[in-house]
Symmetry: C2
Subunit: 749 residues, 2 copies
């Protein structure tokens, strides 16, 4: 039905592409567009906040007038929770079609049975020749169908993205981080993006590419959040408040993606959000709760559990096992560094060479290679979540998979009670080889997959790499413990009747380490992992691996994959790293030494024509207002948009305002002779509390102020005299310069 | 051995009482005491941060000089992690003596067996009279001993606190919150407090009072953190950096108190810390990991688990059960409100009346009443953690406690398969009565206990109240489901062979709700609860109860118990609530309209004598420096301490500086005639980037800036002219005024 909806609406995609921008209702504003921002501009958090406080005060004072107004004020106060409820419900409900389609559409499903039949037969080698050829024919047919379906799905996905919603590609988390830090990307969270991303996500995952659906689900949840924001003027008209909702929506997204509500809240806090006050924490918590609740009502895994990869291990872990766990952490850190470097290098090549012009052939080619290489190996053929699930699993008594093919020899020379671990059978050894191949394949192909023009998440592939490596290490440790059970370190590991080592636990730890190396999460990672698996007992191994992985990866480069993509795309994102250079505000501010002086307005000597010329000649977002050009004492700051709108309005409606009317920013316009034209009083739009620093302020303080207060610009003064201006982009440019990067490379491109 | 240590050191308690203040080593500073703060003063976060950046830059530039300096810089960089490691190890290790002494010292232990013997006998009522009297005599003797031991322990505890470390009383969390927000309370985290609090905590818990050890353990961990800070000049000399360590120490404290490392990090984030950047998050995570690891190595619960109250329920929960869960949430919210109101009223009475002068008799009286009333009821007689543990427990087949006394009638009229729930036996009914009495008793006595002059935590008593209420509700629902199993809502609850309702789960949910109502935690509460119990499956019920409880409690008053105590004690704590009043900076700044003008210095016309007079006449922490008294254009801000030290130093060492030397704050002192005395150049100590706002800045913005940047004061200007100053205390006073409180009541008293 999504397709029907899509085709019904495809007649007018261009008008709709701007997303929710059109859904806003500006009618009851004094002038339309006052206080909105243009596309690809930075918002001013302080201003948004004080606008919201004004609105709140207005409603509170009105609420005492009548019961109706009181009810309206209550509704307004509760609209935040209502939006959270809606987001939780919708993102919880979204999972249903996603889950079902994914399992129905995966091409491997129809083929597995035939294949396992085939495999069983090849093992017993004295079969008739005719059966063999039939089998080979069936295998080849399956192979062909597998590749064909994969190509078809991925072609459909990339075409839909190209045609209807170019923003629906990738994981979306870098862009959401940027948006949450206070940047405007119109349409990125629009309803077309929502629709297309949901549809193409199913297709992309079904095509068997090495990608996950968790990151995109966060994007989808944020689109839902944005959609619901447009229902309430409190959120649709205030970019600051809107971002509070989006932070909570990101939490709800992870909550449904992994069935991990607490992990979702922490992910939003640690990885995605920029400002995360306690109020947003509680709201996110509520949204995640509702989402988890909805998910549980839907019961997608059919086991009354929220948990995606439920594990149950029967043996505790031993202190000595921390050594392999920490080694897995080191591996995770190294893989994270390798992945980020290679992926960024490849994405940069895509951006700068002609490769970027052919996204559809690129996707087709990668899908083709993936499908051709993945099919022969049973561990890469199945869907990645199933692979992870199998790797996490403990080998119970009834487990029949290849990985659990241990030799149960009743005539063993040693007594069974002493050494409950069993020697590995041929199945385990062949599984080990296949897993090693799968590991290499996954490592390489994921580098090329992430960043293509289809929705693609990174959580599941990273976890798969870690789980494979972990399981291999786990089996190795287990066999060592079996063959050298007399070594001092293995002495106390085994109790009668139970396995000594749980290879599944190693897979879990490895998955956490790799995910940590790529994303640099710590707390949220551990919480997500134990919410995913229910393995609360294994919190110390998980934490040890996560911390090691972060340390190792940070030693090679501070950026996680999301920050690296933000920088690659040149979004103006002011990250939390400390600025340690010894520069002052005066080194960063504009105008520089040999530039023309700052474009300023005077409080009582500029004419309307002067202002209009200034607006035409420059593209600054606002202008400082000073007492006079001689004294240069700052009195305020006026927004470009507000100036344009007010002058236009005054020229239309207000009598006597002509080109040589004087614009007054003072409290009272002086008495003027009747011969002079009517003055234009604009104190109303003057921001009387612009943010200022002195020219001697160290840049580390300026950066801190920009980051913590979310400023758009800041004026530089020396003992009251205006010297210059610093914008957020100036700060970013300066930071890039200090890190020996090309300052122009960091701007949005 | 603690006592021996204590008596060995008790000879010099007064010198030591100032705590770690004395441990600092000022020798390599240019002037001693430069950049430190006085007791009960607010720190300036921006200044601390920029001092740390300076230090860091110095070390980095030095590190290129020699290998030794490079190693020193590496050590400096890793000292943060090293401190975390030490904190984790020490707070993990601290738990050992605490746990063992607690279980050994609890007076109930020796008596339980005799008592249960007694009870069994009274039930079978046709016993000989002599045996009865013996039993009564034993019972009375036990009763007497119980009360006596309780009195002895509590007397010892309160005396130790009174004599050696007055700061060791209470839970410590309100004060730690205040300290972390940037306030100096010397000795609060000193080593005497650490020692005495550890000893008296054991005594207080052993005395059977209605208090827990979790809050005080956070205080103890923070003392450890402060102790380790003094080992590294990076932390001992920078109040901002020191607070980063303390945040992490609080996390480690909760981590060991509950065996909940993730919960600890979140508790520090949500409840205790003021600034919690991601770097601190990761460090806290590491400290909590080490603490949990140490705890696990020590294995205090003897079950290889970190979990304090491990539960294992066998039945899932049903949607309809959310109704009682939410009702428990409402109960939790109401109890939280009631507790906070009554406790604050009682504490205020203690502060204002003569009651506060007799802390020792008060503790003795409360202990006496507690012991006398607690002994007859088996549920209040045992230690509170044991009570909670029993209430959380599911009734297994082998459970023999009173609470699990269900009737197993094989001749039941209904078929057993249909209704696995069993009717309650007389034991359950008598348990219900005793629990109800215990509930009332706990509710009342906790109000009077929290805030006395002994270490007392609130977590365990709150959880106990909730667990009792929850268990009662749970049994009620269970019996309803049994007696009315044909009602539509109970239709699908029961599966053959399993209980339909788990009363233990209700106890768990109730405990979470009550704890949430008192402390207003949400995310950290749920995480702590499921780390405590291992009940990851019950995340949705726990979240629902926590959110409801917070909503209900917030409807009656926004403050949690810790904020309420902060306000009661008048600490200068700027909380995160939004300031919505319509005042401007000009309404708050000093001087007010009819006050004398601001005490300022001029840049080149003040003499040393003028400065000294100003310092003597006023007690301001610093003075703005202006161009001249006429223009009043601001050029900087100078700290009082720096002025005093520099003038003193100049008078001693620098030739020619006399009383009528002119003090210059300009870059170059002008050429002066030789007849004039040598000038004193003080630009070095002038802060050239004081923080300014205009007089039209709305107070909501000013509050936001103070909160986010952690300012100590802020200058108010209008077009470059200095008008006044706003300090953090002015902001707090104004906020109190706006909330119709007495502004003077909020200052530290």
């Amino acid at each position: 039905f999504l397709f029907i909806y899509l085709f019904l609406h495809s007649a007018t995609p261009t008008e709709e592409l701007n997303g929710v921008g059109n859904l806003m209702d500006f009618l009851d504003e004094p002038f339309p567009d006052v206080g909105t921002y243009e596309d690809f501009h930075t918002i001013d958090w302080l201003r948004e906040k004080s606008r919201d406080t004004d609105r709140h005060r207005k409603i509170t004072s009105k609420s005492k007038e009548s019961i109706w107004e009181f009810i309206k004020s209550l509704l307004d106060a509760w609209s935040g929770w209502l939006v959270m409820l809606l987001i939780g419900l919708l993102s919880g409900a979204e999972t249903r079609p996603l889950m079902t389609s994914l399992t129905r559409d995966t091409p491997t499903h129809d083929i597995r049975d035939t294949h396992s039949l085939h495999q069983r037969h090849t093992h017993s080698s004295h079969q008739k020749h005719t059966l063999m050829t039939t089998e080979i024919r069936v295998y080849l047919l399956n192979y062909f169908l597998y590749v064909l379906w994969a190509l078809f799905f991925s072609f459909l996905a990339v075409s839909l993205v190209r045609v209807f919603a170019p923003y629906a590609c990738g994981s979306g988390i870098p862009e959401i981080k940027t948006i949450l830090s206070g940047f405007i990307i119109r349409g990125y969270l629009g309803k077309w993006t929502l629709l297309i991303k949901t549809v193409t996500l199913v297709l992309a995952v079904s095509s068997g590419l090495s990608l996950g659906k968790e990151g995109p689900l966060v994007h989808v949840a944020c689109c839902c959040g944005n959609l619901f924001c447009s229902l309430f003027s409190k959120y649709s008209k205030n970019e600051g408040k809107r971002r509070e909702v989006l932070s909570a929506a990101a939490a709800a997204g992870v909550s449904v993606a992994f069935g991990a509500p607490i992990g979702g809240v922490l992910f939003s806090l640690e990885e995605v959000s920029y400002y995360f006050p306690l109020k947003t924490l509680w709201r996110s918590f509520f949204a995640a709760l509702v989402a988890a609740f909805t998910l549980r009502s839907i019961n997608p895994f059919g086991n009354n559990r929220l948990v995606l990869f439920y594990v149950e291990y029967h043996t505790p872990w031993y202190m000595a096992e921390l050594v392999p766990f920490i080694l897995l952490g080191v591996f995770g850190g190294l893989w994270g560094t390798l992945f980020i470097r290679c992926n960024i290098a490849w994405c940069r090549r895509r951006k700068t060479t002609r490769l970027g012009k052919y996204p559809v052939p690129e996707v087709i080619a990668v899908t083709g290679i993936t499908a051709v290489l993945a099919f022969p190996n049973p561990y890469t053929r199945r869907s990645t979540s199933e692979l992870i699930s199998e790797l996490f699993n403990d080998c119970g008594a009834l487990e029949s998979s290849q990985l659990c093919d241990y030799i149960n020899n009743p005539n063993m020379s040693r007594s069974v009670d002493d050494i409950p671990d069993r020697p590995a059978g041929p199945g385990v050894y062949s599984a080990l080889w296949q897993l090693t191949l799968a590991l290499v394949f996954k490592i390489v192909i994921t580098i090329f997959t992430f960043g293509m023009k289809i929705p693609s998440g990174l959580f599941i592939p990273s976890m798969a790499v870690g789980a494979i490596a972990g399981r291999i290490v786990g089996i190795a440790v287990e066999q060592m413990a079996y063959h050298h059970h007399d070594w001092i370190i293995f002495k106390n590991w085994c109790r009668p009747g139970a396995d000594c080592v749980t290879p599944g636990l190693y897979a879990m730890v490895g998955a956490a380490a790799c995910l940590g190396g790529v994303t640099r999460m710590t707390v949220s990672l551990v919480v997500i992992m134990f919410e995913l698996t229910g393995g609360l007992e294994y919190i110390v191994p998980l934490m040890a691996a996560a911390v090691t992985s972060k340390w190792v990866a940070d030693a090679f480069g501070k950026e996680g994959i999301y920050e690296a993509h933000i920088q690659l795309n040149g979004y103006p994102y002011l990250d939390q790293d400390e600025f340690t250079h010894r520069t002052l505000a005066t080194d960063v501010m504009r105008p520089r030494r040999n530039e023309p002086p700052l474009a300023v307005l005077t409080q009582d000597s500029t004419t309307v024509e002067d202002v209009e010329t200034l607006i035409k000649d420059t593209d600054y977002n606002g202008f400082p207002v000073v007492v006079s050009r001689e004294s240069e004492r700052l009195i305020g700051f006026v927004q470009r948009r507000d100036l344009i709108l007010n002058i236009k309005n005054a020229r239309q409606k207000q009598d006597g305002v002509v080109s040589n009317s004087v614009v007054y920013f003072t409290e009272d316009a002086p008495q003027i002779p009747a011969s002079n034209p009517q003055p234009l009083k604009l104190r109303r739009i003057l921001n009387l509390s612009p943010f200022t620093v002195t020219d001697h302020t160290p840049m580390e303080t300026v950066v801190d102020i920009f980051r913590k207060l979310g400023l758009r610009q800041c004026l530089v003064t020396r003992s009251g005299r205006l010297l210059g201006i610093i914008t957020k982009k100036d700060v970013l440019r300066h930071m890039a310069q200090m890190m020996n990067q090309d300052p122009e490379s960091i701007m949005f491109n």
